[in-house]
């Protein structure tokens, strides 16, 4: 069974469209994340949710809206897609947050988004 899964794996779309990427984890973790990996392979956090509540929101355009229907799911909706949004988007999860101990984050397989 896949621990952290994302759909779709590949997404090719036109500029201006709206698209969503879904993420699910079956690890029973409380915290989920979205990361963006750009063309230079640099990975940076976008959002973090702890038990359906937004914890971290980096300086991401408000065209990006995460939604967490329950603690096992964290979806990413992107409005009015731009060329610069082309990247690989990774979802991740970890057992807990904010308790100072630090925990391993487990990553999904990534979604490769190409905006034409």
């Amino acid at each position: 069974d896949t621990a952290v899964s994302q759909t779709p794996k590949y997404l090719v779309t036109q500029m201006g469209n709206d698209k969503s990427i879904k993420c699910e984890q079956n690890l029973g973790h409380d915290t989920m994340y979205w990361y963006k990996q750009d063309s230079k392979k640099f990975l940076k956090i976008m959002f973090s949710y702890n038990n359906k509540e937004l914890i971290i929101n980096e300086t991401v355009p408000n065209r990006f809206s995460p939604k967490s229907p329950d603690k096992a799911h964290l979806n990413l909706h992107i409005n009015s897609l731009e060329l610069g949004d082309s990247a690989v988007y990774f979802c991740a999860s970890s057992p807990k947050i904010g308790q100072g101990a630090g925990e391993t984050q487990y990553f999904g397989p990534g979604t490769r988004l190409l905006v034409l």
């Binding site: 994340y33 392979k41 904010g98 630090g102 391993t104």
Partner: protein, 110 residues
């Protein structure tokens, strides 16, 4: 925020060689992880190692938290070890943002 720097940026080895990858971080950490991103783009957890030493087969890692660095050792490298190795850290007392280094691209030639 915390800065994470990795060296070298690129490394080319012959199969069977050993290598050491380094990760320096600018602040005390309560989470340090090493990842391998394979040529297909998958991010694979290698180690969770905020301090101490761990070994897993041909790979081992050591973090010296007081001196703010971590090392990843790859012994008897294989072509399947090729890819990008990332170090990532979370600072103590800060938000739970995992901050990544820029990675070391490893190529192992047969």
């Amino acid at each position: 925020g915390i800065q994470v720097e990795q060296s070298p940026p690129d490394l080319i080895l012959q199969e069977g060689a050993n290598s050491t990858l380094r990760c320096n971080f600018s602040d005390s950490v309560n989470n340090l992880q090493w990842f391998h991103q394979n040529p297909w783009g998958q991010l694979i957890n290698l180690f969770y190692i905020p301090s101490g030493t761990k070994q897993n087969g041909r790979l081992s890692a050591t973090t010296v938290a007081t001196e703010r660095y971590s090392l990843l050792y790859i012994s008897s490298s294989q072509t399947t070890d090729s890819g990008v190795y990332f170090c990532a850290a979370i600072t103590q007392g800060g938000s739970e943002k995992l901050v990544f280094g820029k990675g070391t691209k490893l190529t192992v030639n047969p």
